[in-house]
């Protein structure tokens, strides 16, 4: 048995550090390469603690840098990363990159830490992207023209190993440009298509029976109907939440089962003009209060089966706030601050784009891009009103909308100069008129 006479006291690295020792007769000096802590134990003359478990297995007592004490196997080795992490994905803002971590060894099993990093030139100045530590990363506006890589760290009690992926190419501008990229700062935006390149959330939360629940997102920037129909499993699916894509977190939801709109009927996604739609059979989705509505604009894509209903509203009573309204004459009305602005167009039984705008002291009702009516109004905030799709329960809890919705986008600012562009964007997607 050789006895170690000298060895590096700190940061022993298996396979690298040399142990100088002599044989038992003391007449031969040899250099040993440390290949494991077990070997270090075998040759070391310094006191070291070992523990034996109930089944006879021996463990070395080791101290981590943070003072944690662990019993580790005799064959423990520090981590080593044997292949580089690999990034895949499309290099455009709004796209999601994914990383496959590199292969690694180490006993005890190392802990993997991933950190996405950004650089101006792909060579130097790599800096951590705050919070980007998962296996996927949504490319944001700050990444445009930059380079991205992933730093992989493997750590166990014996040490750490780090490896960097190859840098991506230069990140390009967003390939997808949504309605809210062109016309931003919506107060609330609800759709079954993706409205913003950097929106990474879901479109809807659905349930089949009030017991189960699932979120449905987008594929190629449109509703993931395959996942939706798989969830419905041949039956119906009802929407409990329509997520706000504006970034304001003003989701609209319904927790009463019989008032949830339906989106899958007998296994098939409900649609209007070949695009998915929520069918509000006397359903409502209710959001939050706190909007500051004086100058505002609301754009709704709907197909009404009924007369006398309030498809979209934000009012605490009949004479405050605003709503979009289908009258007993089956005409479309904007009711703004107690004033009716009625069109002669009939919005029922066909897909329509309804626009309600208020700016200055005038209110306007548009149907399919055409001004239907206007009137003088006296704007006043109704900040206690809940935003609702499908009704105006604070005005009348029984006049609920019966028809389909595909999109509702609301701005709490003057959109008169953007109106044509917003309507064109919507119509280009839904092909309404």
């Amino acid at each position: 048995m050789a006895r170690i006479s000298s060895y590096p006291q700190d940061n022993l690295v298996e396979g690298t550090d040399k142990l100088i020792g002599t044989n038992e007769d003391g007449d031969v000096t040899k250099t040993y390469t440390l290949t494991s802590l077990g070997e270090w134990l075998k040759y070391n003359t310094q006191p070291i603690a070992t523990l034996t478990s109930a089944d006879g297995t021996q463990f070395i007592v080791a101290a981590a840098n943070d003072g944690t004490i662990q019993g580790i196997p005799l064959d423990s080795v520090a981590p080593s990363i044997t292949s580089l992490p690999v990034i895949t994905g499309t290099l455009n803002v709004g796209e999601t990159l994914t990383v496959a971590p590199g292969a690694f060894t180490g006993i005890p099993a190392p802990t993997t830490v991933l950190q996405w990093q950004r650089s101006d030139d792909g060579l130097t100045g790599w800096s951590d992207i705050a919070g980007a530590t998962s296996t996927s990363y949504l490319l944001g506006l700050l990444d445009e023209d930059k380079y991205i890589r992933v730093q992989q760290t493997e750590e166990n009690i014996l040490g750490t190993a780090t490896a960097n992926s190859v840098s991506t190419g230069q990140i390009q501008p967003a390939a997808f440009i949504g309605l809210l990229d062109e016309y931003p700062n919506a107060a609330g935006a609800y759709s079954l298509r993706k409205l913003r390149a950097l929106y990474s959330g879901y479109a809807i939360r659905v349930t089949t029976n009030g017991t189960d629940s699932g979120n449905i997102g987008f594929v190629n920037n449109e509703l993931d109907t395959a996942s939706l129909e798989a969830f419905a499993n041949g039956g119906n699916a009802y929407v409990s939440t329509w997520y706000d894509q504006s970034g304001n977190g003003k989701d609209v939801s319904q927790s009463t089962f019989s008032k949830m709109p339906i989106i899958v009927l007998n296994g098939s996604t409900i649609s209007d003009n070949l695009k998915p739609a929520l069918d509000f059979q006397l359903a409502t989705l209710v959001g939050t209060s706190g909007y500051s509505f004086t100058d505002f604009a609301a754009f709704s894509v709907l197909n009404s089966d009924t007369s006398i209903a309030y498809p979209v509203s934000c009012q605490t009573n009949n004479n405050t706030g605003w709503r979009q309204h289908i009258t007993g004459n089956q005409a479309f009305r904007s009711r703004l601050f107690g004033v009716n602005i009625d069109t002669s167009n009939t919005p029922t039984l066909v897909q329509n784009l309804l626009g309600t705008l208020s700016y200055g002291t005038n209110g306007y009702t548009y149907v399919n891009g055409v001004l239907g009516a206007s009137a003088s109004v006296t704007p006043s905030q109704d900040i206690n009103a809940n935003f609702e799709i499908g009704g105006s329960e604070s005005v009348n809890s029984t006049l609920l909308y019966d028809g389909r919705f595909q999109e509702v986008v609301v701005y709490d600012s003057d959109q008169s100069t953007n109106r044509t562009g917003i309507e064109t964007n919507i119509n280009n997607f839904y092909n309404i008129y």
Binding site: G210, S240, T241, T256, F257, T398
Partner: protein, 72 residues
């Protein structure tokens, strides 16, 4: 179809019966239906669940007098 009663609690109990029987998750789905109050302040109604009955008056639909007509 709707159940009606002059006792609002009867309809609330019917809702609880459906909620319990259907095993709603209590988070995203908390109720079966909401009580509808007649403008007369005396009568109440609730949508009937197709699978559950109750010893209450059953109506095919709610007549127009259930709906205020002054703001349509």
């Amino acid at each position: 179809m709707y159940y009606t009663s002059t006792n609002k609690a009867d309809l609330e109990a019917y809702n609880k019966k459906v909620v319990w029987s259907e095993n709603y998750d209590g988070v995203y789905t908390t109720d079966w239906a909401q009580v509808i109050e007649h403008p007369n302040g005396v009568d109440f109604a609730m949508l009937k669940h197709v699978n559950y009955g109750a010893e209450l008056t059953l109506l095919e639909t709610l007549s127009e007098d259930w709906f205020p007509g002054d703001i349509i």
